[in-house]
């Protein structure tokens, strides 16, 4: 019978993802590897952990496979998308390729979409602002933005993004002109959508690295604008 603490794999890889598995100062996993202090291991949580253990014991999956997937997930972060946006802002040829052949360009840039999903890049302009939602579940460009935030998966966002997108944007601090068309994209298929926000004014001559720091995750979902130059310390 395997013990969560003693079996190889997840807790013994020595691999330490940022903020992922909870470990003590010496790197050893907490006594309660499945949960933080004060968190009760609920029924569904315990069943999920049980399934993982059983699947490994029965050789349905390998002992390191979930570890490896966790490590892959740690590479899916919003700075991936921000890098692409900053490059698109800086290089018109790259931007054209990103809009015309998004999947190829994303893959060439080193980012592999989850389950080989197609990527579409939605360009915001002076007349169109895009906003992405998945009303049915939580579909999201995870390769470029990491896992979706809780609010994206919430009932309130899934409901209101389609009926009152501007009110939602307003909550995120974005107020649009009346003559800007708001285009809500309900991500209900195998395609995943990344918003290419507008380049902020006052950034002429900025390096891609500096530009990328302005590109927030939320601006690539479309609920808010990127940071302005004065919002960032130089």
């Amino acid at each position: 019978m395997s013990e969560g603490k003693d079996r190889g794999g997840f807790y013994d890889t020595g691999w330490q993802p940022a903020g992922d598995v909870h470990r003590d100062e010496d790197g050893r996993p907490h006594d309660h590897p499945g949960l933080q202090e004060d968190v009760v291991l609920g029924v569904r949580a315990s069943r999920a952990l049980a399934m993982h253990e059983l699947l490994v014991e029965k050789d349905v999956i390998g002992g390191h496979e979930v570890d490896d997937a966790i490590e892959l997930w740690s590479t899916r972060v919003p700075s991936n998308g921000a890098t692409l946006v900053a490059k698109a802002w800086s290089d018109p040829e790259f931007k054209a390729r990103l809009l015309e052949h998004p999947k190829e360009t994303v893959v060439e840039s080193g980012f592999v979409p989850e389950h080989n999903a197609d990527i579409i890049v939605l360009e915001n302009t002076s007349t169109v602002q895009h906003m992405v939602v998945c009303t049915l579940c939580s579909c999201y460009p995870t390769a470029l933005l990491g896992p979706p935030p809780d609010w994206y998966k919430s009932f309130s966002y899934r409901s209101r993004a389609v009926t009152e997108p501007r009110a939602v944007m307003s909550e995120f601090g974005l107020e649009l002109e009346e003559d800007v068309e708001v285009r809500v994209v309900d991500s209900n298929s195998e395609l995943r959508f990344l918003v290419l926000p507008r380049r902020p004014a006052g950034t002429e001559g900025w390096s891609e690295e500096r530009l990328a720091a302005l590109v927030t995750r939320d601006s690539m979902i479309g609920v808010s604008a990127p940071l302005s130059p004065d919002a960032v310390q130089n």
């Binding site: 499945g34 949960l35 315990s46 349905v60 997930w73 009926t163």
Partner: protein, 103 residues
């Protein structure tokens, strides 16, 4: 009324709660378990979604995102004969005992 998962335009004026919870380790494991099951051809995303959609509506609205994933993964694995409900029951109970949080 639409199915419980079909949430576009449901009546609500709830503001968006932008606070993001800290992930529990089991949630991270479950996210990755799904990835592995998909890669190995055991359960695809469409099956995951169907499982989530068939959760009892009362449970759907009162559980967390990854609790719903856990329910769907279980439904799929049991339906496919990969695991049995009984062995999951037994192991889950043992885990809860071990961590001192019996329910």
């Amino acid at each position: 009324m639409p199915a419980v998962h079909d949430r576009g335009g449901w009546p609500t004026d709830e503001p968006i709660d932008r606070q993001e919870h800290e992930w529990a380790d089991w949630e991270r494991q479950t996210q990755s378990l799904r990835t592995v099951l998909d890669q190995k051809g055991i359960m695809n995303v469409d099956e995951l979604r169907r499982g989530i959609e068939s959760i009892d509506p009362g449970e759907y609205v009162s559980t967390t995102y990854f609790e719903r994933w856990s329910a769907s993964i279980e439904m799929n694995l049991v339906e496919k004969g990969v695991l049995t409900t009984e062995e999951i029951d037994e192991r889950a109970a043992a885990l809860r005992d071990r961590w001192g949080n019996p329910e």
